[in-house]
């Protein structure tokens, strides 16, 4: 039971994350000037659905805040408040608080202090309404400006001098929203403003046996309706006195109700109780009435309000949707396990297919239309693969908020440019590049970009630019984080690396090699290079995370012009372009992405430097060579002369180019990666396994791990990097 609840909650939080990302994206677009109804509606929908879910799960603080936020969005959506940059700013910070609230509900953070944000929202709600310029022509005519909700307090009836208008409400689905009792009221000629009655029974009245319920019923019989419940004085549960009264209701009654009949309802609770009866400006839109702000976070009141408001909101959302039908395609939520299963089954199908083609003669293959079957199978495989693909936008959407925080922390001004957000990547990859991306953005702001003053001195604009882009190149995804900052100070990096013992003092390194040093373990940039400390922004973490994904990090930097980090990642974690090689009769798969060339060495081309180490000479360059049969302890053919084997030169992050000695190359093919960890455990030197055409298993070589040990054997210059 509680497990089920947890599952449902988990789904809710997943939806929250998606909603926050969508809102973030929408607000960023608004900030950038896109204030189209579609964008506003998207943000509204996102916040609205977070609120709805939060209410259902009883996350009171989250619900209350989301509700307020939604009110503001609703006003903007209805064009009663203009999405000016300051307003969007308020909404952006509200989004930050909202996401803190979500984190708090999830238990991963403390409940944020939302008072400032609420006040800002309120200020916008109070201040901006009524000053909205004419609506953009793209929308159907909006209703006449309306007095803001909060201004419509009982005391100041009609502060704006508006004539009550109850007819120009075509935009709103009145019928769906109006309580039946009120429809009559609406039909009445509107002569007088509605009544707004506040009722808070006193302790004395309660002790005297009066029943607030009866009072409210009586008012309801008069055509009244509870529009808000104030439970701000409700104490914590353990402090609740069952005898005491804590709640205060606001009841709205039609304007034609006689005041004395309202008074009568209170006969048995007066005079101690709080009773305020006043007329107030009739609201033109019941939708606004329905979303009237409660004074506290009573979940029931909120649910009541949501219910009351829902048809209107739904109708409005629907209207918005019909305007932007092209924007969102239909989606369905699928358990990732099911997809993985499907992928496995299709993989099996592909394998069976190649078994068939191995066993059938060419003529028979034609007869049973095997090539056609193979084509279909391949197509199914591609499609199933693409099911796991998601736009990289998901990973990018976290960045704007992070940047805002960083700007606040560092006082630096940053503009973010994103490109290629729609590039599709395997979901697994998207999940795993989040952390490296966070590190890189932080790094760019902390170390890459200069302070505004410094930038001005250097003849640049005060505002720095970070360019975040993604593109697909063949089977790889290239993600770049580039800044236009000061570039890497190579002399300093080098000095630091020598000081830390990462490189010897006399090491001759190219600029690129020096740049790579900032990814060395122990080269904590935060503590050493930046003036912002205490965060431990380790670039080695970036590198190891990316390498764990089968990718690599490239760094390029121009002093004074900026630095760019490029992550070269596999398109999917499930498929790999590989070279099938043989070691002592057993087949292994070498990821093709790492392969530079294959060489059949001439006698004498490979020579030993120490009893345990060999090098190969290629065009005047000596590269270390690893005998994989030895690495894996496959001692089947140790006396085989080297020149009967093949040396495959691989390019690695940690040790540069290294030769791997294998017996033969069998084949080149795409393989479906199967994890060894699923049922066993990771094995050093192996990146997984795959199933070959005949159903047998081939192990996938992990080049980094293999050459890293080679590097340490060879006491390579970059030893520190390989640790």
């Amino acid at each position: 039971m509680s497990d089920d609840m947890d599952d449902i909650q988990a789904i809710f939080f997943e939806e929250c994350a998606e909603g926050l990302a969508a809102a973030e994206q929408g607000l960023s677009a608004m900030q950038a000037g896109d204030v189209s109804p579609a964008t506003i509606a998207a943000v509204f929908r996102a916040v609205h659905s977070i609120k709805g879910g939060a209410g259902a799960f009883g996350h009171v603080a989250l619900t209350a805040f989301a509700h307020k936020f939604e009110n503001l969005l609703d006003e903007v959506r209805a064009e009663r408040i203009a999405p000016t940059p300051p307003t969007v700013g308020v909404m952006l910070s509200a989004l930050d608080i909202l996401s803190d609230h979500v984190a708090a509900s999830q238990g991963s953070a403390t409940t944020p202090d939302d008072a400032a944000s609420l006040a800002a929202i309120q200020a916008v709600l109070n201040g901006e309404a009524g000053t909205v310029p004419a609506s953009p022509p793209s929308l159907s005519p909006s209703p006449a400006p309306v007095a803001p909700v909060e201004a419509a307090q009982p005391a100041d009836a009609d502060p704006f001098g508006f004539e009550p208008v109850s007819v120009a409400v075509d935009d709103f689905d009145l019928g769906a929203i109006m309580a039946p009792a009120e429809q009559d009221a609406e039909a009445e000629p509107v002569g007088e403003p509605d009544w707004r009655v506040e009722f808070g029974p006193s302790r004395e009245a309660m002790a005297g046996g009066s029943e607030p319920m009866l009072v409210i019923r009586e008012l309801e019989d008069l055509g009244g309706r509870v529009v808000a419940v104030d439970c701000s004085s409700l104490p914590a549960l353990r402090d609740v006195e069952p005898e005491d009264a804590y709640l205060r209701w606001t009841i709205q009654l039609p304007g034609w109700t006689r005041e004395d009949s309202i008074q009568e309802a209170f006969d048995f609770v007066a005079p101690d109780s709080h009773i305020a009866i006043a007329r107030f400006e009739t609201e033109r839109t019941p939708a606004t009435t329905a979303s009237e702000e409660p004074r506290g976070g009573d979940a029931r009141a909120l649910i009541g309000q949501i219910e009351a408001a829902a048809p209107g909101i739904a109708a409005a959302a629907q209207a918005a949707e019909t305007r932007v039908t092209d924007s969102a395609s239909q989606t369905i939520r699928v358990d990732l396990h099911k997809l993985d299963n499907l992928l496995n089954l299709v993989g099996e199908l592909v394998i069976r297919n190649s078994i068939l083609s191995d066993r059938l003669s060419a003529k028979d293959q034609e007869r049973v239309e095997l090539p056609e079957l193979a084509r279909l199978t391949r197509e199914i495989q591609d499609n199933v693969m693409s099911l796991r693909a998601q736009p990289i936008k998901q990973a990018f959407s976290r960045v704007p908020r992070m940047l805002r925080d960083l700007m606040a922390e560092t006082g630096k001004q940053v503009t973010l440019q994103t490109f290629g957000e729609t590039t599709e990547v395997d979901k697994g990859v998207i999940e795993k590049i989040g952390d490296p991306l966070t590190h890189l953005i932080r790094n760019a702001v902390d170390h890459g970009l200069e302070s505004p003053e410094e930038r001005l001195r250097a003849g640049k604009s005060a505002e720095g630019t970070i360019r975040l882009s993604a593109e697909q190149k063949g089977a790889r995804i290239i993600v770049t984080v580039a800044d236009d900052g000061r570039g890497i100070d190579r002399a300093r990096v080098r000095a630091k690396a020598i000081e830390k013992g990462i490189i010897p003092a006399d090491a001759a390194l190219s600029d690129e090699e020096i740049d790579q040093l900032i990814c060395a373990p122990g080269f904590s940039t935060a503590a050493t290079i930046s003036n912002i400390s205490g965060r431990g922004v380790g670039m080695d973490v970036v590198r190891s995370n990316v390498e764990a994904l089968g990718g690599r990090v490239e760094i390029s930097s121009t002093p004074g012009k900026g630095t760019s980090f490029t992550l070269v990642l596999p398109l999917t974690l499930a498929i790999l372009d590989g070279m099938v090689v043989r070691l002592a009769g057993q087949r292994f798969v070498l990821p093709l992405a790492t392969v530079v060339e294959a060489i059949r060495p001439e006698p004498g081309q490979v020579s030993a430097t120490t009893p345990d180490n060999e090098v190969i000479e290629i065009r005047g360059e000596y590269l270390p060579v690893r005998r994989l049969t030895e690495v894996f302890g496959l001692h089947a053919n140790e006396d085989r002369p080297v020149h009967e084997s093949l040396v495959i030169i691989v390019e690695s992050e940690s040790a540069g180019r290294v030769g791997l000695l294998v017996d033969t190359i069998d084949d080149r093919r795409e393989v479906v990666i199967k994890s060894l960890e699923q049922n066993l455990h990771p094995i050093r030197g192996l990146g997984g396994a795959t199933i070959l055409g005949d159903g047998s298993i081939a192990l996938i070589l992990d080049v980094e791990a293999l050459v890293a040990s080679a590097a340490s054997h060879n006491r390579n210059l970059m030893r520190g990097l390989a640790a």
Binding site: Q586, G633, L634, S675, L676, N679, L680, H681
Partner: protein, 163 residues
């Protein structure tokens, strides 16, 4: 699913032999029984892990159970098979000499294993006597079955992958 509830005290075990000894594992852990086929050997793993095999698209390790328990490794013969079991969510195959039978036993009839002199604790979770059908049609006779604790046999438990 239902067999474990009928009658409350009864469990079903699958019995098999390793050399002259009879062993049993809880039926509920058994995924399937497969014919022996040569697994793909793995580098840098203990000798009793014979390799990995393809179980309908999943890579499953195969363990030489006799070796794992400290006896002479099984030789492969016509009746060799692999019991694929589920241990705490992971799948593993155990090479055994021969699968005998599926028998129902009373949980109350399980006797605690005496302190077996194995290097580790509780690989044998208990002893139970069953009346075995003889293959040659002779009189059924009582037989001792060593019940294996699969959790204690979990592969990952005894391996330090970082090695």
């Amino acid at each position: 699913m239902t067999e474990q509830e009928t009658p409350a005290d009864e469990i079903k075990i699958v019995t098999f032999t390793l050399g002259a000894r009879h062993f049993g594992i809880d039926m509920r852990s058994l995924i399937e029984i497969r014919e022996w086929s040569e697994p793909t050997p793995l580098p840098s793993v203990p000798g009793y892990i014979l390799g990995v095999t393809n179980l309908r698209g999943t890579v499953v390790p195969v363990v030489g159970l006799a070796e794992r328990l400290g006896w002479t490794p099984s030789t492969i013969h016509a009746r060799s098979c692999v019991l694929v079991v589920n241990i705490a969510g992971k799948q593993a195959g155990f090479l055994v000499d021969e699968v005998d039978d599926i028998v129902a036993i009373q949980e109350s009839a399980i006797q605690p294993a005496p302190d077996v002199e194995l290097q580790e604790v509780n690989v044998i979770s208990g002893l139970v006597q069953i009346t075995a059908r003889a293959r040659d049609g002779s009189e059924p006779k009582p037989q001792m079955v060593l019940l294996l604790d699969l959790d204690a046999l979990a592969i990952t438990r005894h391996l330090d992958m970082a090695a």
